[in-house]
Symmetry: C2
Subunit: 458 residues, 2 copies
């Protein structure tokens, strides 16, 4: 017999909430989202007071040098329009099209025997993320909209805020037909460890954080993991690259928001460009105060320039092998020269985190080979890696950017939180049995006639 | 530095073969399939000789009581039309529509900036399966057609046959533009264990076998696992069930092919049917020589019949709790009476392997609640669970039947072996950068205009 530990109680409650919700109409989930927005607004003062507590505790950590100032800033829920856009986000998700109940395949197998593949929720999600407290609300909204129950674990730095957000969400759910255990939050790593054992109740783990967080979870669970980890993105300047496109794309990919996972970390330069395009691109990068970690070929090309770039010795250094496996997340860019497109594709497949990689080229053939050959979620031509984003792609919102290759890849919208099931309905007078089909006299043959239907006709 | 163990060499060769194949046209993979069919035909005598060896070794095991006669029969590649249908299967797969390169989402983000989501292979598959040697050829064909490299591990009982099949496939590949390491086979569990460590090279593990095989693999790898495990399928006779439909669906679900994963293992009878429909269904099952493991209510209903069924004492027994968690795979059926549809749905969600479950009902509402409430890959109305099958669904062929809820669920066709990537192309004169978009004067807005395209226009 299974013991009834706290983790099992949480997981069972989530599973039971999911199963009950399956019998409700999707419109009730939309109602719940509006109720949550109202509940958060009503609890605004208390939530911001808890957030102030988190900020004060964080300030102590920053003062002691145990936390970065940029992390502290990300905790602040009262900064700029953050609160309002968090609430607007809930409404936006409520207004997105329902990702469930869509017929994605339908076939008449026999007279009066109809098969429908329809999208449906996955079940119970365990979502583990870092710092920013508003993610609790974002993820809760996405889970509810897609019909999944969720257990959420945020960063300990925002735990006071997360508790209040979670209570407001549960009180709002209690006023709807959805169970209030549809969204639960947990606080400790020990709870996470216990939940990772419970593949009987939990269908998917979504960790958003560092590579090591994702790998650690993958190492410790049978539950499928949809990892949202590092972005080690490349820009490759092809032999035929236009110098202006090259400069604009490289500078934007590196400097538009260096801390983002879709920022470029490595620049690959075709050897033919060492004396032409590369110096111009390097000057633009150095003007934008980017530090360059160069291999000997790209370094040599810069040091022989006349006049040499003014901040050459301060901002340009020789790279090491680890330069090319580091997600800098700052104004640092690793640079390497390679002799061919094929070598660049091979380099990227070996070093990239398979997030997003771009080519700058004027050649249709090179563009096509690059997009086919590079095994990444995004392969871009003459466009900044920074475009890799659910909002920019037109998904309205995103769960995160999956670096896995199963189920959902790249920016994951609501579509990434659903799967499908098959519904087979016999309207025959005697029902339908397999024994009547087959080869030989009197046996029926399968029809497999397409059925046109966007939603279930019953 | 990584050691170059035999497993790493195999995994690297597979990854390299996959990456090279990405630069080839899909038509070359079709050519390779035809070449493989020819190669197998040319090696027929040698392969069947190896198969005879496997059969002789298996006979020793059967004689010693260490192997079942039915397993031995499944090893025989020369039985009936097995050889010919194996070869025809390769041609059938070759003739299926290409699952890769299909545009599944396309949006114009800005003038001259086009985003395409296109289907593409997953990468390197590790497929682990049991006994039947022809599965080597089936899976190789499906992997090649979908553009994935594969490493295959079959049952040790068919290892001589598998080696010859594999050699024929590799020799055929060597005559094509695909690398001959596109399909590799391994023989030992130790190799499997080593490969399960190599998430850097292998993208997906597909185990087809028992629950314990699948769980053991899930416990020992970071690589995503698409499990094809047990089928613990239910038929529920609703209060409004028609007796004829009930009898036909239950008998077919249990007896059409009891060893299949889509055969029914448990029958749930609404309590209102105990004196009406249930006795008639039970008589039909007993006539078909099915052994019934009944709870006390369904047992009592049969023992008070007059006249009692003739083989009552021999074929009807009291069930135990484990009866309802056992995949019998024989002519044995567990039976339980429950008081309501809600109780049946709850029972199924707690006991089912989430493979396929059926309701027999005349009520539209009950059918709809059952299909929404039961969290299984297949929810069927008045139709036998035996319809859960890729061929019957119209997929042409199947990798297996996934009991997971991520990526692919239920019968998995070629679609289950692909994922997608995003290709973003700028045709703008200066390329495209994110910094030009945003709020405020002079900033561009995203267009997000649908593009109609079935395949990439470049």
């Amino acid at each position: 017999m299974e013991e009834n530990t706290p983790a099992i109680a949480i997981a069972k409650a989530a599973r039971s909430a999911f199963e009950k919700s399956q019998l409700l109409l999707a419109s009730e989930r939309v109602t719940a989202l509006h109720e949550i927005r109202k509940g958060l607004e009503a609890s605004k003062d208390a939530i911001l007071a808890a957030n102030k507590q988190d900020l004060e505790l964080a300030q102590v950590e920053v003062d002691a040098g145990r936390m970065s100032g940029s992390l502290l800033k990300r905790l602040d829920l009262n900064k700029g329009d953050k609160w309002d856009s968090m609430l607007q986000g809930v409404v936006d998700v409520a207004n997105l099209p329902d990702p469930t109940g869509r017929v994605t395949y339908a076939s008449e197998l026999d007279d009066n025997l109809e098969l429908y593949q329809i999208t449906c929720p996955i079940g119970v999600l365990l979502v583990i993320f870092e710092a920013r407290p508003e993610v609790v609300v974002n993820i809760a909204a996405l889970a509810i909209k897609s019909g999944n129950a969720a257990i959420l674990k945020g960063g300990k730095e925002s735990s006071n805020t997360a508790v209040l957000l979670s209570q407001a969400i549960q009180r709002a759910l209690a006023r709807t037909s959805l169970p209030d255990t549809y969204i639960q939050t947990i606080q400790t790593r020990a709870e996470v460890s216990s939940l990772l054992e419970l593949d009987r109740y939990i269908d998917l783990v979504i960790p958003r954080g560092s590579n090591s967080l994702v790998r650690n979870i993958q190492n410790n669970t049978r539950i499928p993991v949809m990892g949202h980890a590092d972005g080690l993105c490349h820009v490759y300047l092809d032999e035929s690259a236009d110098v202006e496109k090259a400069t604009r794309v490289v500078v934007d990919s590196k400097t538009d928001y260096p801390a983002a996972c879709n920022a470029a970390e490595t620049l690959i330069v075709h050897e033919a460009l060492l004396q032409s395009v590369w110096p111009k691109v390097a000057r633009a990068l150095l003007e934008a105060d980017v530090q360059l970690l160069c291999d000997s070929a790209t370094l040599h090309a810069l040091s022989t320039l006349s006049p040499p770039p003014s901040n050459l010795s301060a901002r340009v250094h020789l790279s090491t092998p680890s330069s090319y496996t580091t997600e800098h997340l700052t104004l640092t860019l690793s640079v390497v020269a390679l002799p061919s497109l094929a070598a660049a594709v091979q380099w990227i497949n070996a070093h990239s985190s398979h997030h997003t990689d771009a080519i700058v080229t004027e050649s249709e053939e090179a563009a096509s080979l690059f997009c086919r050959g590079v095994d990444s979620a995004g392969t871009f031509v003459n466009a900044s890696t920074r475009f890799a984003d659910g909002f920019r792609y037109g998904f309205g919102t995103e769960v995160g950017i999956s670096t896995g290759k199963i189920h959902a890849r790249g920016p994951v919208g609501l579509e990434g939180l659903v799967i499908y099931k098959y519904i087979l309905r016999s309207k025959g007078e005697q029902g339908h049995v397999v024994g009547e089909f087959g080869v030989g006299a009197g046996k029926k043959k399968y029809k497999h006639a397409d059925i046109m239907a966007a939603s279930l006709p019953f």
